[in-house]
């Protein structure tokens, strides 16, 4: 089973995770920029983070045989902090980088005017740079938030088939499907979807335009959830081709819209190789 995790925050994960992901079949990831848990206080803090997503993290991933791309943006939560909003002015010079395959994660958190501004501005940036957009749907007041998100996308210059709506669930999948956007589901213990509910959604809605991710980060999460969904789909009678469509071909098709996806990952995972700089870490 080949797996492309289209939404995972590897910055928050260990090398053990990379090793386990490779063993589970993960060969490609997209890491969206997001809120780090600790609020940032200046644009420079974002730039160091973006540099990590364009430098150190792809290097780490390559050591484990996994292709790493990223999406960059000012996240919805920090779009409300005037110390952080100047990041929007600097984003263009980052969005031209080779391994940036979308603008994201953008969207709503608390549905404030500042979030309206940042969402619209960043959808425009995506349109200007020929990039698709990864749009997070809010955790609180989700259905209303989704409708408002779809309205903003309709008013933007970015066609819905270049937008991935993420963190969907049973209550939002219908409206999201009708919008013409791609459909992202995060399989995340306790707060988002689980494997069995995911199988039920795919039974109802089919495999077209559906992407499944672990959204693993610094919270209680599991980077192997993609594999577990694949296994659950097979157990429920879906074919290997169905699983390949959801776990590989759909994310390749969506992020491939950027024209920048490179899946020629290094030969073999190198954690077993003596001389690995990560294994030797702690200088």
């Amino acid at each position: 089973m080949r797996i492309f995790d289209p939404h995972i925050h590897m910055t928050s994960r260990t090398t053990d995770d990379y090793e386990a992901m490779y063993a589970a079949g993960v060969r490609a990831v997209v890491e969206p920029s997001f809120w780090l848990g600790q609020p940032r206080t200046s644009p420079a803090s974002f730039f160091d983070y973006f540099d990590a997503l364009l430098g150190w993290e792809p290097f780490r991933a390559s050591q484990y045989g996994i292709a790493h791309h990223c999406t960059l943006a000012l996240n919805p939560k920090e779009a409300n902090d005037s110390r952080c909003t100047p990041v929007l002015d600097a984003l263009p010079r980052y969005l031209v980088k080779d391994s940036v395959v979308a603008v994201g994660e953008i969207g709503y958190d608390s549905m404030t005017p500042a979030e309206d501004t940042a969402l619209a501005a960043q959808l425009q940036l995506a349109a200007d740079h020929g990039l698709p957009a990864l749009v997070h749907t809010p955790h609180r007041d989700k259905l209303a938030g989704l409708h408002r998100t779809i309205d903003v996308i309709r008013e933007s210059n970015l066609p819905p088939d270049r937008v991935l709506l993420d963190h969907l669930n049973e209550t939002t999948v219908k409206a999201a499907t009708d919008s013409g956007c791609w459909l992202g589901f995060s399989i995340y213990p306790d707060t988002k979807m689980d494997e069995d509910r995911m199988v039920a959604v795919i039974k109802d809605h089919g495999t077209g335009k559906v992407l499944v991710n672990s959204a693993a980060d610094w919270g209680k999460s599991d980077p192997l959830k993609t594999r577990k969904v694949g296994d659950a789909l097979l157990a429920a009678g879906f074919t290997e081709d169905d699983v390949d469509q959801v776990l590989w071909r759909n994310p390749v098709a969506f992020y491939g819209l950027s024209g920048r996806l490179r899946l020629d990952v290094p030969d073999a995972p190198e954690p077993l190789h003596e001389g690995n700089s990560i294994l030797r870490g702690g200088e």
């Binding site: 089973m1 080949r2 079949g25 060969r27 420079a44 540099d51 364009l54 430098g55 150190w56 792809p58 290097f59 292709a67 100047p86 002015d89 600097a90 263009p92 010079r93 031209v96 980088k97 080779d98 391994s99 290997e240 390949d244 590989w248 071909r249 390749v252 491939g256 024209g259 920048r260 996806l261 490179r262 899946l263 020629d264 990952v265 290094p266 030969d267 190789h273 003596e274 001389g275 690995n276 700089s277 990560i278 030797r280 870490g281 200088e283």
Partner: protein
């Protein structure tokens, strides 16, 4: 082979070697990008001539968000997606990613030289634009790992414009502090050979051994390691530490140790270097 060229060959030879590997569309991209970079260099030279004798220019704020970027800088950033090996782009639409055919072989074989091609294109661009200290520093500090690597590889070609001599050394030092082997390997080129002091250079050698960067990546190794008893001591200590931990000593360590025991052609007195691990000095090449 392209990697070796990137590391010191004249730009014309590098360009010829690169073009040989590119498809027609990518070659056209390269020509246009180089023309834009040359035009930028001409425009800046003209501006400098016009300003000659005028007041001191304003200092550049390197953290300033700059948009729009000069066209050649966009070309510099996007080189990786325009320099695919020709045999790959000949059979595939370059706008769509390669998708593996079977579950057993989940990824297509790596295009081994894709990174080399992007390195070469970026080095040529930096040379064409005559990137000075401000430009190299800005591109490095705003760059992805691949872009930083290209800046490091270009430094030997830019000595005439990154003045005073050795002033770009902080970029090399920054790269040597990382644990990214692609950056460390690019940092130990001719520019480091020329400008790193002996203490920093020894640590760079040790870092290569420590992180698995092949000793062959270190420019001027045999010349600089020769008769360096302090480097020999560091290598022996490192070997002892590895041995005490039950870990293998990297083969390259033995090779470098042999080099340190060769006599200094300038007959610098060498009192302590002693090769304790037997190896054939002729295997150095």
């Amino acid at each position: 082979m392209l990697t070796e060229l990137t590391n010191g060959a004249p730009p014309s030879a590098l360009q010829a070697a690169l073009e040989e590997q590119l498809s027609g569309a990518d070659r056209a991209w390269l020509h246009e990008a180089l023309a834009e970079a040359e035009a930028e260099a001409e425009a800046e030279a003209a501006e400098a001539r016009a300003k000659a004798g005028a007041e001191v220019p304003e200092p550049v704020d390197r953290n300033r968000a700059q948009w729009p970027l000069p066209t050649w800088e966009i070309r510099f950033a996007e080189a990786g997606r325009h320099c695919h090996p020709a045999r790959r782009t000949a059979q595939e639409d370059p706008s769509t990613p390669s998708t593996p055919a079977t579950a057993a072989a989940p990824c297509t074989p790596a295009a081994p030289d894709a990174q080399d091609l992007a390195d070469a294109a970026r080095v040529l661009l930096l040379h064409a634009v005559r990137a000075d200290l401000d430009t190299t520093t800005r591109l490095y500090s705003h760059g992805t790992a691949a872009e930083r690597r290209a800046v490091l590889l270009a430094l030997p070609h830019l000595s005439a414009v990154t003045t005073p001599a050795g002033s770009a050394l902080p970029l090399v030092e920054d790269a040597l502090r990382t644990n990214d082997t692609r950056l460390v390997a690019a940092a130990v080129g001719p520019y480091a050979t020329q400008h790193l002091d002996q203490h920093a250079w020894r640590h760079a050698v040790l870092k290569c051994l420590f992180t698995g960067v092949p000793a062959d990546a270190i420019d001027g190794l045999s010349r600089r390691a020769r008769a360096d008893s302090e480097l020999a001591r560091m290598l022996r200590d490192y070997a002892a530490e590895r041995t005490a931990a039950g870990r293998p000593v990297p083969d390259d360590l033995h090779r470098v140790l042999v080099l340190t025991a060769l006599p200094d052609p300038a007959a610098r007195p060498d009192t302590t270097a002693r090769v304790e691990i037997t190896a054939d000095p002729t295997e150095e090449s």
